[in-house]
């Protein structure tokens, strides 16, 4: 585990106001970036010779209903040569949940973005095949958002009173 904040300093120098905030207190350096500069930040982290984060470990979504930009996408990148990890977050509004895809940089992001779209409804512009991957195609809501319940509301055999819900 590393806590080198040099990469965050480099990012702030290069991208300036697009890096909304940084955080070195957790288990790895993390930064919140604006959604329109996300592709450039990830490309810089992957391709620039001084960074070299060539492995995309994880891509997932998150939903904070109370905040101004509720839907978030979180990227974990890993520099395998020097064993450094970094977490990048970007937030988009509910009315226009669009962000650019990173599939041209990492093929691994293809299905991970489809899964995030399936669960949260975040649209990745430029994705080759953005359709639902894990749920049924005719599902008309985005299940992981906080307003939807866990159980199927149309089931009639299980009585919620006995199941502690």
């Amino acid at each position: 585990m590393d806590n080198r904040s040099d990469i965050l300093v480099t990012l702030k120098e290069r991208f300036g106001p697009d890096i909304i905030s940084t955080d070195i207190s957790g288990d790895m350096p993390s930064a919140i970036v604006s959604s329109k500069s996300l592709y450039d930040v990830i490309k810089f982290l992957k391709d620039a010779p001084e960074t070299g984060y060539q492995f995309l470990t994880d891509l997932c979504g998150i939903h904070y209903p109370e905040s101004e930009l509720p839907l978030g996408i979180i990227y974990h990148l890993h520099n395998l040569r020097e064993n450094r990890q970094i977490r990048i977050k970007a937030f988009v509004p509910l009315s226009k949940p669009e962000i650019e895809t990173v599939t041209p940089l990492f093929n691994a992001a293809n299905w991970m973005e489809r899964e995030t779209y399936d669960f949260y409804g975040i649209i990745f512009t430029g994705h080759p095949n953005l359709k639902r991957i894990l749920n049924v195609e005719y599902l008309d809501f985005f299940p992981m958002r906080k307003e939807y319940p866990l159980e199927d509301p149309t089931r009639e055999d299980k009585d919620n009173r006995f199941f502690g819900r």
Binding site: M1, G26, D27, M28, Q54, F55, L56, T57, D58, C60, I62, I74, H76, L80, N83, Q85, R87, F106, N107, A108, N110, W111, M112, E115, F119, R132, I133, L134, N135, V136, P143, M144, L150
Partner: protein, 403 residues
Amino acid sequence: MPVKDPHIIIQPEDTDKVYTTLNLGPTHPATHGIFQNILTMDGEIIIDAEQTVGYIHRAFEKIAEHRPYYQIKPLTDRMNYCSSPINNMGWDMTVEKLLGIKTNKKIDYMRIIIMELARITDHLICNSVIGVDSGALTGFTYVFQEREAIYEIYEEMCGARLTTNMGRIGGFERDFSAIAIKKLRELLKRLPDVLREFEKLLMRNRIFMDRTINVGGISAERALNYGFTGPNLRAAGVDYDVRVMNPYSSYNDFDFVIPVGTNGDTYDRFCVREEEMWQSIRLIENALENMPEGNYHVDVPGIFLPPKEDVYSKMEALIYHFKIVMGEIGVPPGEVYHAVEGGNGELGFYLVSDGGRKPYRLHFRRPCFIYYQAFPEMIRGSVLSDAILTMSSMNVIAGELDA
């Protein structure tokens, strides 16, 4: 037999042939797990594959937002169900990382023994199923006897055979009993002979080698781009192992070798898994020899249930017991990402907590889901029987794929 280059894509406009569509459907004896591949074929050669997954989507991540921390462990069992203790230990370590609990050496060594046993069971299934798909059913029946022996050890330790739910946040619920250690030692004496017999059946077998060498290969650059981890990546030539790069649970006390292949084809994946089993046996023997003294759980009364005698006699123990069972364990707000080396690669847990009884967001980084995307690229240009072998050598487990 020409060497198949996975980067050559036959353009449909080039020829004026008629392509057939074959549905390698969700229920199929050769696909171990339920996922669908719709293959476009030119006679016997595969041109393209379109995949559909999600036939066993059980919404683990949504369930995890509605369950207290100790109730999420049975969910993690059912992801990679061939090696469920690894998932359990990974979850325990993630929550311990968030809470800042440090485990002592005895717990670490116990965890290593259990995780390596689970790795052996996972690789035993994968390798014997590669044998079954190429026609050698004998290896499967012989190897399953050893899996039964490992099931007996699990039963001795936690009571369940397959979905073990082993361990607690902060250690274990009980120490290894004498019967468990005796069975473990007997297994360690017997396992090398069984593995050697299994290898003699397949590893230098002319038919097996012809069927698996240069089949379903992927280069190291493509594998890294696709996010491969685990034995599939190591077979392609990259020595990335989470146990060595970011050691957890005192793996850095031990000296073991990471096997690495050369061309990333099916034969390399088979050999890498075989060798990893030998390394796991070595790790278990070392951990058992050098098991230190200590308590099998950490002294954190806010997380770990106090012993029953204290609950019935002391006031603080009763209060802690009540609070833990009601789910009021004090988890600080924060986020953490922890990865363990599962049977298929880097199994990651991304946990976001807002200070409540349940996680705010829990995301599983499942290795199967990420590397299965590369399957169409690996089988383009090969015949159907090679595609079946490639699929079984990638060890795609449906529970981990869909989660």
